[in-house]
Amino acid sequence: MNKFNIFINDSDETFECFEQEHLLKGMLRLGRKDIPVGCRNGGCGVCKVKIVSGQYQAGIMSRNHVSVEEQNEDIALACRVFPRSDITLNVLGKMKNEFVRTHVASQNTKS
């Protein structure tokens, strides 16, 4: 069972994700309460991300939330993305603000 490291650019956090589970499930191991977990079936769009680097397999997603153009630019719903290598991602949609806030807070702590 392969396991990969997933890096979130916005918050400088890394989580582990098995190849047979979707990124959102892995992300929940961060233990954060603010991760918007919606329908978990590619329909509601709250877990939208952009895969910046890495290999993945994506399942079917709502066109209302991920257009063909977006999909070609590696934008996807985390609940439909299965990792095939280590991945770096940016958070989009409803999750964005919370993750940026975490990053700003951690930067302030460091300085």
Binding site: C39, R40, S62, H65
Partner: protein, 306 residues
């Protein structure tokens, strides 16, 4: 009490991303029965204790959501009256030929101020509930999963709540049974055309034409707990529950279908008569109105729609 005019929700057509996964969910997990497929690939389902041929139609689409919800009307005279009312109200009204949906008679389709499409019809072929009409047993054998009894209602989200509530009350003769109001502003309206706590409900929301959930009746609280077991057993994404609503008093659990459309199964909500008072909830009690025990508003339950 005689139920005249609009009798009940007759069916909901849901858009799904994958037909096979959806049929497995609605049939094997929820207990609906497949009764037909058509040349467009649409799948017709019914709950066991419904006599008409179908109450759910699954249609493949690239986005989930509700295509339309249809109500069964008692007779042609009522249908013509409602059709006139809808035209006077300002709806775009069109007739859909009998047979466009298998086993269903002519339908009157109309739009609404919240952007949802609805239909009325008077005829649907009878499939039966698996029991004889003379000396019937209490339930048929061989039911699957949650054993949903009937398609009960939908809760829909849209912008012009006032307009759509006015349409259902004035043009279709529904009553507001229960509501949430913030001062003068109605936030939510639960409407009934029968003895039920609600046959359709609406919540004010920025975006038009969204569905919060399609709901199915179970008979007992024990069956709701058993549905919760099935949700975990079959790895179905749980939304919330088992719990109780203050609004409608329903004992309930919510989960998502394989395309992200929310489903509810529930039991033992309240009832009404034409002279029943309108029940009102205020924003300071919204937590109780939605989840009577925890009283905690939940971002996913309030905001995730398809």
């Amino acid at each position: 009490m005689a139920i005249t005019g609009v009798m009940r929700p007759g069916h909901v057509m849901l858009n799904v991303l994958d037909i096979d996964e959806s049929v497995k969910h609605y049939c094997e997990h929820m207990g609906l029965i497949e009764t037909d497929r058509d040349d467009q690939g649409r799948v017709y389902l019914k709950c066991w204790d419904e006599h008409d041929w179908f109450s759910v139609v699954l249609q493949k689409n690239d986005s989930p959501g509700m295509d339309h919800m249809a109500f069964k009307v008692d007779n042609q005279a009522s249908l013509l009256r409602f059709e006139e009312n809808l035209k006077k109200f300002g709806c775009n009204v069109e007739r859909i030929a009998a047979g466009e949906l298998n086993h269903c008679g002519e339908r009157v389709r109309f739009d609404s101020p919240t952007g949802h499409t609805f239909e009325l019809y008077t005829e649907k072929e009878v499939y039966g509930n698996g029991l004889p009409t003379t000396n019937p047993a209490p339930w048929p054998e061989g039911l699957q999963g949650m054993q949903a009894v009937r398609f009960d209602h939908c809760l829909l989200y849209g912008d012009d709540l006032d307009g759509t509530v006015k349409l259902f009350v004035e043009a279709l003769e529904f009553d507001v049974a229960e509501q949430v109001v913030d001062g003068e502003l109605q936030i939510a309206a639960f409407l009934s055309c029968s003895h039920k706590a609600h046959d359709i409900a609406f919540i004010r929301n920025e975006e038009k034409n969204k569905i919060h959930h399609a709901s199915f009746l179970l008979n007992t609280w024990e069956n709701v707990l058993r549905a919760a077991d099935i949700i975990s057993m079959k790895d179905i994404p749980l939304d919330i529950g088992p719990t109780r609503h203050g609004l409608t008093r329903g004992q309930t659990i919510y989960f998502f279908d394989p395309s992200g459309n929310r489903n509810e199964v529930f039991c033992e909500d309240s009832y009404r008569y034409p002279d029943s008072p309108v029940l009102t909830w205020t924003p300071d009690h919204l937590g109780q109105a939605i989840f009577y025990h925890s009283r905690e508003l939940n971002d996913r339950f309030l905001n995730v729609v398809t």
